[in-house]
Symmetry: C2
Subunit: 365 residues, 2 copies
């Protein structure tokens, strides 16, 4: 529960009475309990000077305890007003807080209006940056899970390559990967696994389907695995049979761009510099118009989290940050190629978590 | 685009200048475009007296068009402020709205604060009830998709039953089901498929794993399929080999409770009456303490939507509503059993969408 203490220190420093954490991933971060509450109320309330509690659906109380939460778990039944349960738990601990830090990028207007009625006269402050800053820098415990999630993703790509065969559909390859992952003990995939072949690779957000793999195709795998609540997210593009010269050129451009970005990662460079390192390579090769998204995004409990690695983000990279590097070229008439690694910023450079080779792999039919 | 017209009529009636729709499922409902924007801005702005537009990530503009959206799709790049794009689109159409209806149960405090700065002096109203009321009553087009989603779920249960065998793990059965669903053209499962066996059935939110199926087990399937954006959600519990007398008693109690609730469904009864019909049967059999959740929830584009079928909801049921009926008994020492159907309220009764038999099915080892 070191995270709770860190939030209490923040409250003391800012002289705010309480914090209410409601993003499911942040609830997990501070409590160890991971759940999608749908429309039900789930949150952790931390006090400057009193014990925290978690408010959760009644039937999840045992799961909260099993997840290691050692403070009060206040369960609310579907038939009662969850806010009554919150107020009871608050009153047991302290006078009504006169200032509460909330996650303004997550808490809904409706819930804030309700809190405004219940905590009359209370001022509300932002908690977002505090939580983002904490989550931005991964602890060694978190890195252990991220390394394992990346290792599983590497293996998933290996399985995918093994499954590729003439006439197999994208979905067949995809299901074989997911089955193998579940057998390996992966909780779940971080997002819908993508297996795209032929010209479908040229859609950055394509949907795998019944298309049959043919000789001469590039096959793009974009996938990730959740391990102990932490996500990987990686992409590899491989060839089935001989690719054309144009396909090779696009592949090598993306590979060079990706490597240029990875090589730049170290404390002190800015997010935008890393984006630019890759974009310059792709621009120089004449494919600039076909690289239509940012270089990457932060990765951890969420598959998309801070920092956002865009061409305009001046954020200075620090040791312990984890993000993806994933340039792509999407040429609707030739092919799409994307290569994506997960990287950790180390004291003096970079640790690449995803290790599946990036030289063009040509699978022989 | 009849939905857009309906929202315009609402704006005219309430004399509100514009509506901003941001829940991804509601964006789909009014635009036909389904997407999870993660932290990026996605929304549909509807005006009392001007053409609507959708604001979306730039790279999704082609998908928006392909989904049938015939109005402007304003794309924002990751490198620009999405709100600049919103304001440009607004200014092209009208003077700044002085009143905007928003989804207070979805829009974040941060976004409302931003809108408050951009639309100076604008008043914000609730749009939630209008959208809920629209979505609460399913159109015939929507029912076509819901029927198909339920049919696929029925088939998924059939596949699951076929796959059950001594020593197979829960995950093996689960993956076989999901593979078959993808082959059948299901977009995706509505939620993480649940296959639980033995005493794991006694956890309403259990996680499938490596447990091997054994003779004498109950096996609980809870699953759903998305078809054309619409969800099914059903549960069946089956036996592998002979169950004990106590297991049978629990099964028959749940079956009777479920049927009592289904039989009560018609326009004019209240949600709480339907809950009570099932709960009374379970209470009378002495298992009341083991039925720990509401009788069901609305179903449509979201797998959990309105109405919430709790024991305290006085909502009067109307023709066209669709919800689940899913009583369960979770006895930690004997077994868990849940039976769940998807039902539509008809003019004078009920149409049950999920048709897999509810008599206790005993699969012979």
């Amino acid at each position: 529960m070191g995270k709770i203490k860190e939030i209490q220190q923040f409250l003391q420093k800012e002289n705010i009475d309480a914090a209410f954490i409601t993003t499911p991933d942040n609830v997990f971060y501070v409590s160890g309990f991971h759940s999608n509450p749908h429309e039900r109320l789930l949150g952790v309330m931390v006090f400057k000077d009193a014990e925290p509690f978690i408010i959760c659906p009644f039937m999840e109380v045992p799961d909260v305890k099993a997840a290691g939460w050692s403070f009060e778990a206040a369960g609310h039944e579907d038939t009662e007003d969850a806010w009554d349960v919150v107020m009871d738990a608050v009153r047991k601990r302290s006078a009504l807080p006169t200032s509460i830090a909330i996650e303004k990028s997550h808490l809904t207007v409706e819930r804030l209006e309700r809190m405004g009625q219940l905590f009359t006269g209370t001022e509300f402050f932002r908690l977002d940056e505090q939580l983002n800053n904490m989550r931005n820098i991964k602890s060694e415990d978190e890195l252990v899970n991220l390394r394992k999630a990346a290792e599983l993703a590497d293996y998933a790509i290996e399985v995918g390559c093994r499954e590729i065969a003439e006439g197999k559909t994208e979905l067949e390859v995809l299901m074989a990967i997911e089955f193998e992952m579940k057998k390996k003990g992966a909780e779940k995939m971080s997002f819908d696994t993508m297996v795209l072949s032929g010209l479908k690779t040229a859609s950055p957000h394509g949907t795998p389907g019944d298309r049959k793999i043919q000789q001469g195709d590039f096959i793009l795998f974009d996938l990730g695995v959740v391990y102990n609540g932490y996500c990987s997210d990686m992409t590899r593009t491989v060839a089935f049979g001989e690719p054309t010269a144009e396909m090779r050129e696009i592949y090598e451009t993306v590979r060079e761009a990706e490597q240029a970005a990875v090589d730049l990662v170290r404390p002190g460079v800015r997010a935008m510099d890393i984006d630019k390192a890759a974009r310059d390579v792709i621009d120089a090769a004449g494919y600039g118009d076909y690289f239509t998204h940012r270089i990457g995004h932060g990765l951890g409990i969420s598959v998309h989290e801070f920092p956002s690695m865009t061409g305009t983000n001046e954020l200075v990279i620090e040791e312990g940050m984890v993000f993806t590097i994933e340039p792509g070229i999407y040429h609707p008439e030739i092919t799409g190629v994307r290569i994506e690694d997960d990287v950790v910023v180390t004291a003096d450079g970079v640790e690449v978590l995803t290790k599946f080779p990036k030289e063009l792999l040509i699978i022989q039919p």
